[in-house]
């Protein structure tokens, strides 16, 4: 005969098991993070021995060129991969929650197309007139382009109630931006937009500490805000109607969610170009690993998972076919797509 005490005991035990699982997943992620960081610092076209690396890192002494290599080339790149990988995964998680659709990714709302269009415009405009553009201008252009796309989607979301219609709207905006970009490309001189294709495949090469500072600041703020929204995100998982009945201001929440996810993916697009699959695959993997969707746990884990995944992909991109560097999207697709397929199969099998 189930008694109150035995019920409580059972639930408490289940809670302990759950928390143990969370702890395990976080531990694995942290270990992976450390391991991949070490691997990343240790690999590059120049051989630097581990003791040398340790000396350079902790005491900042050593061969000038090697110090530069570690501090100016490898470290900023590693940090950037971690920060942007986490941002992508988080952005994907937000959109997947919002749309209740596991295929939603950070760029589904036309963000990368908007950014590409802005970058193409800037490249053409600058190089036609001034013959000179700073990387800051291109980064800012990508950011603005991405947010403009978001702006349109937000306008759409005011008039449209259904989620799937909004999704289609976002995809359409993406197409419009792509079409405009192609239009620009047709009239531009080949030389001006020769690098547009390369940009759109994404790369972590050449990151500076300035980049890390700016991206880090933006992503940190966004991460904090998302974490602060854990409660409404949890409510949202039951659907908009129930969320509203629990007191979530659905209108405001929609805007916040789209905006936050857009700022995160705009940041990634601006600094490294669009990187595919991290945003779709990582939230899935993390949620399956944790076996829960509770935002308080999933949000930090997703960020960490994204960082690890992205750093891992960057490692492969750099070292697999050295000295040629693969584009990061190529690598992340190779690892990410099978995961997504596997997830789809499992899910459809269950339904």
């Amino acid at each position: 005969m189930p008694t109150k005490e035995s019920d409580e005991a059972r639930l408490r035990q289940a809670g302990r098991r759950r928390r143990a699982r969370y702890a395990l997943v976080f531990l694995v992620l942290l270990l992976a993070f450390c391991a991949i960081t070490v691997l990343n610092i240790n690999s590059g076209s120049v051989r630097i021995s581990l003791p040398e690396i340790a000396r350079i890192l902790f005491r900042r002494t050593g061969d000038a060129a090697q110090v530069s290599i570690i501090w100016k080339i490898r470290l900023p790149r590693i940090f950037m991969a971690a920060i942007l990988g986490g941002a992508l995964a988080l952005s994907g998680f937000l959109l997947q929650t919002f749309f209740g659709n596991p295929i939603a990714g950070p760029f589904v709302l036309g963000i990368s197309s908007g950014a590409k269009m802005a970058v193409a415009l800037t490249m053409i405009w600058f190089l036609e007139r001034a013959g000179n553009a700073s990387s800051a201008a291109l980064i800012a252009a990508a950011f603005v382009g991405a947010l403009l796309s978001t702006g349109f989607v937000l306008l759409l979301s005011r008039r449209v109630a259904s989620m799937s219609v909004l999704l289609v709207g976002g995809i359409m905006i993406g197409y419009i931006c792509s079409a405009l970009t192609d239009f620009l490309v047709t009239f531009a001189d080949d030389a001006n937009i020769v690098n547009l294709h390369g940009w759109s495949l994404g790369s972590f090469s050449g990151m500076t500490w300035d980049n890390v500072a700016v991206a880090g600041a933006i992503v940190a703020v966004a991460l904090a805000l998302v974490f602060a929204l854990s409660k409404p995100i949890g409510a949202y998982q039951l659907g908009e109607a129930y969320a509203q009945s629990m007191g979530v201001s659905v209108r405001r929440f929609r805007v916040l969610l789209i905006l936050l996810s857009s700022v995160l993916s705009a940041c990634v697009t601006a600094f490294a170009g669009p990187i595919s699959f991290v945003g779709i695959a990582v939230p899935h993997l993390v949620k399956r690993g944790l076996h829960t969707a509770r935002p308080l746990v999933v949000i930090p884990a997703t960020f960490l998972g994204g960082a690890v995944f992205c750093m891992f992909c960057d490692l492969i991109a750099r070292t697999a076919f050295a000295p040629t560097e693969l584009n990061i999207s190529t690598v992340s697709s190779v690892f990410g797509a099978p995961v997504v397929i596997f997830m789809m199969l499992r899910r459809s099998g269950r339904d």
């Binding site: 060129a65 530069s68 990387s135 800051a136 201008a137 001189d189 690098n195 050449g206 000295p323």
Partner: protein, 383 residues
């Protein structure tokens, strides 16, 4: 409301970034006003240039030079063992000896080889198979010249560990400003080769003298340049044959890319004693060198050209007229095709900046020859 504020903030940031990007990088623009004052240096002379107008070299006592390039970048060249003068702020410092150069501007390689200063170049922006200059390809095979990534994706670590002291880039680097900024952040000065913006072909070749200054090979440079200038001067009295020449290639999408009338290739044709078929084509003020037109437009304009020269530097060289006809059957109607006056360049064209004079000679031969010579140094006739 929040969204509007955010959008506004971002727009403001963007404007600020644009403004930063617009600001010229050098504070002392000297190219048009005469030799600038540099604290700690005494001005000696200005190099007298015959054809080039994209750079100026101001010479100072003690072996110091100031190279002012038309894009506003000014390079202060400090001799070996020399100290940085007080007034060096705002200039890009090039400390001699410059002997570990990363060369990503392929047009400069031929100049280095001709100056016998290939040994100064340690890192290459092109792979071995992409070099048509034998000396360069051999150096790569021997390992004295190493591939360090193309201009848009250099291997920064290799640059650092090789102790690179100068990166010579073409204007393509302007499309990837972040690469330039990263290289400069690592302490390696970036020199942007703007020889392709010279309107006179010999202006391009005069960059010999600039690189001569950088690599302590001024005498050799003057000699080589002089030789090329001589060839052209010998043609200066020549009466123009008034035969028209078209210089073009067919792109993948079926359009035709031709050079602007202000481009140096058009000037070469004029110097060689011919007329470039297009008058006033293209906007001379913009940075691009070519104009794309449809096959119909090209047909209308160049059908009656006496000579056709196919630019195989981008595309692959053609061997026979049939290969040309495969690109478009309209070519069969061209006067030059009917008369058998179709020529083609080698892939070497853009890497042959050291011998532009000889190339002009080739075109001269094409225009004035009896048609029996089909294999000239730089162009060959299609059979």
């Amino acid at each position: 409301m929040k969204k509007r504020i955010l959008t506004l903030a971002v727009l403001v940031c963007w404007c600020a970034a644009l403004l930063c990007g617009c600001a010229p990088s050098a504070k002392k623009a000297a190219s048009d006003t005469g030799a600038p004052e540099i604290a700690g240096l005494t001005y000696e002379s200005t190099m007298q240039l015959q054809y080039a107008n994209c750079f100026q070299i101001y010479r100072y006592e003690g072996g110091y030079d100031l190279i002012a390039v038309s894009d506003g970048r000014n390079y202060l060249v400090i001799p070996e063992g020399g100290k940085t003068p007080r007034g060096a702020d705002g200039y890009i410092i090039l400390q001699k000896p410059l002997d570990s150069i990363y060369l990503a501007a392929t047009s400069a390689m031929s100049l280095f080889c001709a100056l016998d200063r290939l040994s100064r170049v340690k890192l290459s922006g092109a792979k071995q198979e992409d070099w048509y200059i034998p000396a360069a390809a051999d150096a790569m095979a021997a390992g004295t010249l190493v591939y360090a990534g193309k201009y848009s994706e250099p291997d920064y670590e290799l640059l650092m560990s090789s102790g690179c002291d100068l990166a010579i880039e073409s204007t393509m680097i302007l499309h990837t400003p972040e690469v330039q900024e990263k290289i400069e952040e690592l302490g390696i000065p970036v020199f942007i080769d703007r020889s392709s913006y010279e309107s006179h072909p010999l202006g391009r070749t005069e960059w010999f003298r600039l690189y001569g200054v950088l690599t302590d090979a001024e005498d050799e440079a003057d000699a080589l340049f002089g030789k090329q200038a001589e060839i052209v001067q010998s043609l200066s009295d020549f009466q123009n044959t008034e035969k028209t020449v078209a210089f073009f290639y067919v792109t993948n999408s079926g359009t035709v890319s031709v050079r602007k009338s202000s481009d140096y290739l058009a000037a070469m044709i004029e110097l060689a004693g011919g007329r470039y078929i297009f008058k006033d084509l293209g906007d001379p003020t913009t940075a691009t060198s070519g104009v794309t037109m449809t096959m119909e437009e090209f047909y209308a304009a160049a059908r009656d050209a006496d000579y056709l020269i196919y630019n195989a530097a981008i595309d692959n060289p053609l061997g026979t007229v049939d290969e040309l006809l495969q690109k478009s059957s309209l070519f069969a109607d061209f006067k030059a095709v009917k008369e058998g006056n179709v020529w083609c360049t080698g892939k070497y064209l853009y890497q042959a900046t050291d011998v532009l004079g000889s190339m002009i000679q080739d075109i001269h031969t094409m225009l004035t020859g009896d048609g029996s010579q089909t294999e000239l140094t730089f162009i060959h006739k299609l059979s």
